[in-house]
């Protein structure tokens, strides 16, 4: 793919995207309305994802679009609803002081960029050794087209295992801080209305009012469209998951897309129905199950005589097939953990809305 343009058109696209990122960033600095800030953050993520496509990082772009522009924005909106809508403007001393610090750091960084290899240089140190080795070895070792998946799941399976554990830990942290099912949480200071004592079989009157608060159940159009969309989104998540060997995608992206389908369901039909469809217990179980599948694959390879996560042991007569099996298994683990953790985090935030009173904001 040699460029035949006299001026590289991709450079122009890159410059446009970078300047848009800069404009969005500066607007976030200058604004004080948290709602606008959070939405602009979503825009920033989406622009970054676009730029990642232009930089050939399609997998990263996919993840950034699903996570940064999707889940992050939902979580930040949730937290914003639970806290406040306006930020206090900063004092002038603080503004100029921080501008000074940031300016000095920025100049230092720009000075550092003079030492960096030229943009797009194929022979730069970053592009020469390990990455190149993975590119070449993937064809014969694993024989799947998407090298990113091959490195993620096989060559660097240890790292990815660590990442999955980090995601699980973060999910546990949110569960501990907020409580996954806050109707049963014991922080009595906020919920003294007696609602905390009730279990799933609460009186219909209470259920009716909570439903009206957190569900858009008077919007018929939204309900019908959501009912049509949700199976397609879940199907798409599975496609992204199982096609991750061949195209951009994999367990991380699929897990986030899966979780977003459930979040859409809960936005339209209300938290109570979502809790009935996917009980918080199941989500808790799933978060751990995914890590168990991942780690279990590693233990199986040890039991079969290899090293931890050495997939070649799974089928010694055909190591390529064994690699495919191993990658698929750990990707299932990643999918289950990521989807469950994202949902548990969402449950943690959404479970708090019922405790909001009007005078709180």
């Amino acid at each position: 793919m040699e460029m035949s343009f006299p001026i590289d058109i991709f450079v122009i696209i890159d410059l446009i995207l970078i300047s848009m990122l800069l404009v969005v960033g500066i607007s976030i600095v200058r604004l004080n309305n948290l709602f606008v800030i959070v939405m602009l953050y979503g825009v920033y993520s989406l622009l970054a994802a676009t730029w990642f496509v232009s930089l050939d990082a399609v997998d990263v772009a996919f993840t950034e679009a699903a996570v940064g522009a999707g889940i992050s924005t939902v979580l930040m909106l949730g937290a914003m609803l639970l806290t406040s809508r306006e930020a206090k403007p900063t004092t002038p001393i603080r503004r100029w002081g921080s501008l000074l610090i940031v300016g000095v750091t920025g100049i230092a960084l720009i000075y550092a960029t003079f030492d960096m290899p030229a943009f797009g240089d194929p022979n730069s140190p970053a592009n020469s050794y390990v990455g190149l080795m993975y590119l070449k070895a993937t064809i014969t070792d694993i024989s799947i087209p998407n090298v990113v998946t091959a490195i993620l799941a096989s060559y660097r399976g240890f790292d990815t295992f660590g990442e999955v554990v980090v995601v699980l830990t973060a999910g546990l942290g949110v569960m501990l801080i907020l409580g996954i099912d806050s109707r049963r949480s014991r922080s009595g200071e906020v919920e003294d209305t007696g609602e905390s004592a009730e279990d799933a079989n609460e009186p219909p009157a209470v259920k009716e009012t909570t439903k009206q608060i957190d569900a858009l159940n008077h919007h018929i159009v939204l309900q019908v469209v959501a009912k049509m969309l949700i199976p397609i989104i879940i199907l798409y998540a599975l496609y992204v998951h199982f096609h991750g060997d061949y195209g951009p995608g994999g367990g991380f992206q699929a897990g986030v897309i899966f979780a977003s389908a459930i979040i859409l369901y809960s936005l339209i039909f209300g938290m109570d129905q979502t809790r009935r469809a996917i009980p918080p217990k199941l989500v808790q179980f799933g978060s751990a199950l995914g890590v168990l599948i991942y780690g279990g694959t590693g233990v199986i390879t040890i039991l079969m005589g290899g090293k931890f996560l050495d997939y070649n042991m799974l089928d010694q007569s055909d190591t390529i097939h064994a690699q495919h099996m191993g990658i698929l298994m750990i990707e299932v683990g990643v999918l289950v953990t990521v989807a469950s953790v994202m949902l548990s985090i969402y449950y943690g935030f959404a479970g708090r809305y019922r405790q909001l009173k009007d005078q709180n904001w």
């Binding site: 793919m1 940064g68 914003m80 970053a126 020469s128 998407n146």
Partner: protein, 148 residues
């Protein structure tokens, strides 16, 4: 990147601070990914070359021997001949996949840590009734004065 850092330092609002951290983080990702770009290259998804199909077929039908043979055929990977660095595969250049992997997982971990931060902010709001730093400081100070 600097706008994110600026937001983190300058604002007293905790949610806005977290947005700043997010900006900072996304910008660092951009730095990493831009390093992995190879001019005129393709995304690191190997076009189905003849070799790829052969490798699958031969490995499936025969035995692991074929794979070792193929491995032997790969040129020295650490050879740094500028002309051939990205060539010996099939004449197509691919961008470096390694930073992509690192950043892909970092994004997911980033949102998980962001969620923990937001959860803490929500609890701070419940405990103090505000998410502005100076107001929280005031409340802390008053509580300490009252206690002593």
């Amino acid at each position: 990147m600097m706008t994110g850092l600026y937001v983190v330092i300058s604002t007293g609002n905790l949610v806005k601070k977290l947005v700043g951290i997010g900006l900072f983080q996304t910008s660092v990702f951009q730095l990493y990914i831009s390093l992995s770009k190879v001019r005129g290259a393709q995304p690191p998804i190997i076009e189905k070359p003849a070799k790829y199909g052969d490798a699958v077929k031969s490995a499936g039908e025969k035995s692991a021997e074929t794979v070792t043979d193929l491995l032997a055929k790969i040129p020295e990977v650490t050879a740094l001949d500028p002309a051939s660095v990205y060539d010996p595969l099939m004449g197509v250049a691919y961008s470096n996949p390694l930073p992509h992997v690192l950043i892909l997982t970092a994004i997911v971990v980033g949102v998980a840590t962001l969620a923990v931060g937001l959860a803490l902010v929500v609890r701070i709001r419940e405990a103090y009734g505000t998410i502005e730093e100076d107001a929280i400081d005031d409340a802390e100070y008053k509580a300490e004065v009252n206690a002593s």
